[in-house]
């Protein structure tokens, strides 16, 4: 089975190619089913590979498969090949697993979209890229996947490109990611220069030879890449905007898989990181700060997806905190649980949006619990998981991270703790606003602002445009504005929610198996928690308490209305610390001015002006000389005479 590993990415690739060629003919929903089948197939193969690998002894769980030489140039030899080890298989499993679920969900969600097949084209391409990323045997092929997922993210965020915001968000995502890629590329260059190879086995196997400075440099450069991809400070700005994409995209790419690629990369190169303690500290700090920073913003967002987006940023921060603390397993563990519950939350949110006819403003929701039973039930599971309430999955992973952070640095731990509190708070706020309280949408439906109606055209498709028997009858369900009533989603969307909810609930059990399983990868180098059991339990209690406090505060404000909502949603947080404005004025405006200056002054005036100036000079010179040619024969004779004098003068000079 191990040799079939190439099938894992190949199946989505095949799906992509088939859909590219015949997608339009397959249409809605067959294209979706095809894509989903491919993903399921990939998942099955991944499971097979997993068991195969399990069969090996712990230290023999490495398998490398080379397909063909991709770039063989001099000392640089890069194969397209796969490295099968516990880490990559874990990643592959959850990418294909979660991916398959989201594919399935999308069949329903995207139903009725005019570019339905194309969506799955992109989705499959994304899955392929992501699998290349995680399974690759070399940095360069990882980079191939890395860039591939970035491009797919771009396509999918800008899927509804008619909306300027979507198009802009897609571009922003790509460009910001590219800034990170800059670091990744430099890291590869440095690795090649140092090791003469880009293969993981070569490089990581010889990591011990690295001088400290080089190790730090490589670690930091790779981290720059991770910061871009995983939306850490300061390159996180693209992720909230990326919510312009269809919700399954947000779930798959911007919550579960792509954004965790940075974490994966960090874990992948852990032997190098271990040689660079300074870099680790920086990573941990950035992670903690990001977690806290994003959490604060999430507290004041009204857009249901924006909250989740900032939450994702925040949770990714946790993962980097874990990485920075040397707790690689914890990072992966949190990545997995986060994938479960965040995908769940996103899909749930999508279901809500779907049910609310493209309404994303939580302030216009409320009391949906009864109307969307499956959605609300599963969403609540996700909420408890992310809030860190035991025994849900999120508690375990977050707890482990915080324990490790405590080991590393108390301050970082404290930030993490506060963030946990905030997390519980803003998620509770979301749940209360959406599923509890008054049914504010009854009012909102009539007064739906024209601007928003404008901004969201015929998209978020299934809700408005569906006319298929598989879905729901729009006339019956939606009718006129007057009898607007939110509704539950179709089964294709509901099943994945249920599955994910189960995983989010029980994901915590993976904790110790995962630790053992990943040991060959992170090896003995893994940080063993030195604190005693007492401390650990104590920390767990504190964390739980924090979560509960957060929930309580949210409860008192948003359900009991003990405080004015606006007072806890300051503008500065609503505007996300004005980050976008700062970027616009500090980065964008000067760059644009510089570009304008270069293009229209330096290039057009100075450089081209010089060129044209020389031409003009010749002509002007000609014009002046021309005036000497007066047409008077005596002038001409004078020229001859002067020429003769000059020649004579030379002769005179020559004799003296």
């Amino acid at each position: 089975m191990m040799h079939a590993v190439w099938l894992i990415p190949a199946l989505p690739l095949a799906g992509f190619l088939i859909l590219l060629a015949t997608g339009r003919r397959l249409g809605d929903p067959n294209a979706g089913w095809l894509a989903t089948t491919m993903m399921v197939g990939a998942f099955v193969v991944a499971v097979g590979v997993f068991f195969d690998l399990m069969g090996n002894p712990a230290d023999g769980r490495v398998f490398q498969q080379n397909l063909f030489a991709w770039i063989p140039v001099g000392g640089l030899h890069v194969d397209v090949g796969f490295l099968v080890d516990p880490l990559s298989v874990t990643m592959a499993l959850f990418v294909t697993g979660v991916g398959a679920l989201i594919h399935l969900y999308s069949i329903g969600y995207m139903h009725g979209d005019e570019r339905y097949p194309k969506f799955f084209v992109y989705l499959n391409l994304f899955a392929f890229s992501m699998l290349m990323l995680v399974l690759s045997s070399s940095f360069l092929v990882t980079f191939l996947g890395w860039e591939g997922v970035g491009a797919c993210s771009y396509f999918l965020v800008a899927f509804w490109f008619e909306r300027p915001t979507a198009a802009t968000a897609g571009k922003k995502a790509f460009v910001t990611n590219r800034i990170g890629d800059f670091g990744f590329m430099l890291a590869m260059f440095l690795i090649f220069t140092t090791f003469g190879s880009l293969n993981y086995t070569d490089v990581l196997g010889r990591a011990g030879e690295l001088p400290h400075v080089t190790a730090t440099a490589i670690a930091l450069l790779l981290f720059v890449g991770a910061v871009g991809k995983s939306a850490q400070l300061p390159l996180y700005v693209w992720l909230p905007d990326a919510m312009e994409g269809p919700t399954p995209v947000s779930a798959l790419i911007h919550a579960a898989t792509m954004v965790t690629a940075g974490v994966f990369l960090m874990v992948r190169v852990n032997p190098i990181l271990d040689l660079a303690p300074g870099a680790l500290t920086l990573i941990a700090t950035i992670g903690a700060l990001t977690a806290f920073f994003a959490a604060t913003i999430a507290c004041a967002q009204n857009d249901i997806k924006k909250v989740l987006a900032y939450s994702t940023v925040s949770q990714l921060g946790y993962m980097f905190l874990a990485v920075g603390s040397g707790a690689y397993v914890a990072a992966i563990f949190h990545m997995v649980t986060h994938a479960f519950f965040k995908a769940l939350l996103f899909l749930g949110a999508g279901s809500v949006i779907h049910g609310m006819h493209d309404e994303q403003n939580m302030k216009k929701m409320g009391g949906l619990r009864k109307l969307l039973p499956i959605t609300s039930g599963t969403f609540i599971v996700g909420w408890l998981a992310i809030a860190g309430v035991p025994p849900f999955a999120g508690f375990w992973s977050k707890d482990e991270i915080l324990v490790n952070a405590y080991e590393k640095n108390h301050l970082l731990w404290f930030i993490g703790l506060v963030t946990a509190l905030l997390t519980a708070y803003y998620m509770s706020r979301q749940v209360f606003l959406v599923f509890y309280g008054d049914q504010r949408w009854k009012v909102a439906a009539d007064g739906k602002s024209p601007r928003e109606a404008e901004a969201k055209p015929e998209h978020e498709p299934a809700a408005v445009k569906s006319a298929s028997p598989a879905g729901h009858d729009p006339a019956a369900d939606h009718g006129a504005h007057g009898d607007f009533k939110p509704h539950e989603s179709p089964p294709a969307m509901a099943y994945p929610l249920v599955v994910l909810a189960v995983l989010a609930a029980i994901g915590g059990i993976l904790r110790s198996p995962l630790e053992r399983w990943l040991e060959p990868v992170v090896g003995e180098r893994v940080h063993h928690v030195v604190s005693g059991a007492g401390t650990k339990v104590g920390l767990g209690v504190v964390t739980t308490a924090g979560a509960l406090i957060g929930i309580a505060i949210a409860y008192s404000i948003y359900l009991r209305h003990r405080a004015k909502e606006s007072s806890v949603e300051p503008l500065v947080l609503q505007r996300a610390w004005y980050a976008d404005d700062i970027v616009r004025t500090v980065v964008e405006a000067p760059s644009r001015a510089l570009a304008n200056f270069s293009a229209f002054f330096v290039d057009a005036k100075v450089i081209d002006g010089t060129v044209n100036g020389i031409g003009a000079l010749v002509r002007a010179g000609g014009g002046r000389l021309r005036r000497v040619q007066t047409g008077f024969v005596r002038n001409y004779a004078l020229a001859v005479a002067v020429g003769a004098v000059a020649a004579l003068a030379y002769a005179v000079a020559r004799t003296t």
Partner: protein, 101 residues
């Protein structure tokens, strides 16, 4: 005794220059042409003087040819002058300046 050749040659140089300057400063084409004759005479004088100084008859022969050339030039030149200034009241070189630039 006999005047040194240098004197003759100096005279020739001056004559040549007067002719050249004359051509430059006079506007009447005929006078300009006379100035060319002055220059040719200066050359003739120079040749003859050199012939004496070098004791070489060649210089004198050359003068003979120059005379012929001068005659031919005069014939053609005056014909051209006549053809262009036939209808004009002045034979002014400056009037002929249609072509320029």
């Amino acid at each position: 005794m006999s005047v040194p050749g240098a004197w003759y040659l100096g005279l020739g140089a001056m004559l040549f220059t007067i002719g050249a300057v004359g051509l430059l400063v006079r506007r009447n084409v005929l006078v300009m042409f006379m100035c060319v004759e002055l220059m040719l005479n200066a050359v003739n004088l120079t040749f003859v003087t050199f012939a004496r100084m070098l004791n070489d008859i060649g210089g004198q022969v050359v003068v003979f040819f120059v005379l012929v050339v001068a005659a031919a030039e005069v014939v053609v030149g005056l014909a051209i002058i006549v053809s262009i200034f036939r209808r004009r009241t002045e034979a002014t070189a400056d009037d002929v300046s249609l072509l320029r630039g």
